[in-house]
């Protein structure tokens, strides 16, 4: 069951997830998860590792069939052929001698779904160059993608997803491989692009603090259940305790959010166990 905060979205709904449940290997990973995302909204999909964030993303992408419930994008039921979604996987395993330069991969992002060869096009080359510049990847535009570091590859994958001008952009744990500074840059970049191009962005992370400055809404997943709404309304002790199924405290420390498991308020903090990595 999902708790939905009462906030109305004024922008057109891009993604509508309705009562999605998924059972894998006998375990109920997701239990009637529902939320919507509108154009230009930056939504964080937050939850501890193993909570089902990747599964949920795969359902939205159409790679995993839900046991019940459904997903619709731009008002139409999700089917891979209908609306291409921009997707940035967490990591792509590539051979170092894969013959593809960063700029080639971004170009494929633009037209990789069209059949046949591509003919040379100055327009497309310009678009690729622009996009690589936007994600600050000009330095390694000519390097083989298989030789890039995690962070560099992440930028190229983001460029590849954005160049196709999607209405919906999904990112699976993009911050996991990045240092703090790069992570902040990427988050800022994504937020700006989301606003400018009215893209709906859903970004999963197990650590929400880097996203706090830009998140419009949060979908918090824990214990198979989800709650969605504005950050201030969802990230509270009451809501999260209900999700986790046991008592958790939400503490605000120096502008950061800290989620800890423990007894009711007033207990010695040293005895509290950290339930999820919420430390800034």
């Amino acid at each position: 069951m999902t708790d939905n905060a009462s906030a109305e979205t004024t922008s057109p709904t891009i993604l509508d997830v309705e009562s999605v449940s998924v059972t894998l290997s006998g375990r109920r990973i997701l239990d009637e998860v529902s939320f919507t995302i509108g154009a230009g909204e930056f939504t964080g999909l937050i939850g501890p590792n193993g909570a089902g964030k990747t599964t949920l993303l795969r359902v939205i992408l159409g790679l995993q069939r839900p046991g019940s419930g459904g997903v619709s994008v731009l008002g139409r039921p999700r089917s891979p052929r209908n609306q291409p979604i921009g997707y940035v996987p967490q990591k792509v395993l590539l051979d170092p001698d894969m013959p593809m330069r960063a700029k080639d991969l971004v170009a494929l992002g633009a037209d990789g779904n069209r059949y046949g060869f591509r003919l040379r096009s100055a327009d497309r080359n310009d678009a690729v160059r622009e996009m690589l510049h936007a994600v600050d990847a000009d330095r390694f535009a000519d390097a083989r993608v298989g030789t890039l570091s995690g962070g560099e590859q992440q930028r190229v994958l983001i460029a590849q997803a954005l160049i196709s001008r999607p209405r919906l952009l999904l990112l699976d744990e993009p911050l996991a491989n990045l240092d703090l500074h790069s992570g902040q840059e990427i988050v800022g970049l994504l937020a700006r692009i989301a606003r400018e191009q009215q893209i709906a962005v859903l970004l999963s992370a197990h650590e929400m603090n880097p996203l706090l400055p830009v998140m419009d809404r949060v979908v918090y997943v824990a214990g198979g259940r989800a709650a969605s709404g504005p950050t201030a309304e969802i990230v509270t002790s009451e809501v999260l305790s209900r999700l986790y199924g046991h008592h958790v405290e939400v503490l605000h420390v120096h502008g950061r959010v800290l989620v800890v498991a423990g007894e009711a308020a007033g207990t010695d903090p040293a005895a509290a166990r950290i339930a999820s990595a919420g430390m800034g």
């Binding site: 059972t23 290997s25 006998g26 375990r27 109920r28 239990d31 051979d95 001698d97 259940r225």
Partner: protein
């Protein structure tokens, strides 16, 4: 089919081969080394052909080429892509074999038996060497068992314990080479591969505990060769045909079994 002398030899030899194939094959499947397990015997075939040509004992040619193949794949595989290197090393050895074979024109039955085996033609005098080499193989696996297992499943942990992946890979490939050299004369270069893939792959579908899976893999390999020999005796079709088909069958049964297991209904959950 049990009373006839040569059949007894065939049964005994096949049993030895199946045990070795089941044990070594377990690791072949575990390490995803299907391609080298196919390439080394085939390369060895080329060596046997060459030895034939030069008039030396084919076993020497087999041994030399299978070791060369193992070392080639192991060392070149360090720098190049593993599957590419395996493919090229294999065809290079086969091409040499082709060159040897082209020197004469009367090798048809020889080629056939080197590729597909002559298990019904095994003589009593071959049993002892085969048994000896088989025991050597099993002992070799027993000696490197723990490092091999660790390095195959969690290579990073093994490295941390000082087990170099490269050395283990070379050792393992040499074990495959040894298994090849002893079994090619009986079951042929192409068939030892089927025995090293089908039964272990099937065994893995039923259990993931190493020793149990190895035992099961040996059991399935034994059943495969026994049924193949019996069928070949009755229908007169080559043993290799039955081995290949049975291998595919046991793999299919294994896949069906694990598919049915994962579709089991979820346990009832309490209220949220």
């Amino acid at each position: 089919m049990f009373a006839v002398g040569f059949m007894m030899n065939a049964w005994i030899t096949a049993t030895i081969v199946a045990v070795v194939a089941g044990v070594v094959g377990y690791f072949v499947v575990l390490r995803g080394s299907a391609f080298p397990a196919h390439a080394i015997p085939k390369g060895a075939f080329a060596g046997a052909a060459g030895a034939s040509l030069l008039g030396i004992n084919t076993l020497i040619g087999l041994a030399v080429f299978s070791v060369l193949g193992a070392l080639g794949i192991g060392t070149l595989g360090r720098r190049g892509r593993n599957d590419v290197v395996t493919a090229l090393a294999l065809v290079m050895m086969l091409a040499l074999g082709a060159a040897f074979l082209s020197r004469t024109t009367q090798y048809e039955p020889e080629i056939y038996s080197l590729l597909f085996g002559e298990i019904l033609g095994v003589s009593a005098s071959q049993i002892l060497p085969v048994a000896g080499l088989g025991i050597a193989c099993i002992v070799a696996v027993a000696v490197i068992y723990r490092p091999l297992l660790l390095s195959s499943i969690v290579p990073e942990i093994a490295e941390a314990k000082g087990i170099r992946a490269y050395r283990i890979e070379i050792c393992f490939l040499l074990v495959v080479a040894l298994a090849t050299a002893m079994t090619v004369p009986v079951v042929g270069a192409l068939l030892i591969f089927s025995l090293m893939i089908g039964p272990p792959a099937a065994a893995r579908s039923f259990t993931s505990r190493p020793l149990l899976a190895m035992a099961l893999s040996v059991a399935i390999a034994l059943i495969t060769v026994w049924v193949a020999i019996a069928a070949s005796y009755i229908y007169n079709w080559p043993v290799g045909f039955f081995v290949g088909v049975l291998g595919a069958l046991s793999y299919g049964i294994g896949r069906a079994w694990s598919a049915s297991r994962s579709r089991a209904p979820a346990a009832a959950l309490g209220p949220p």
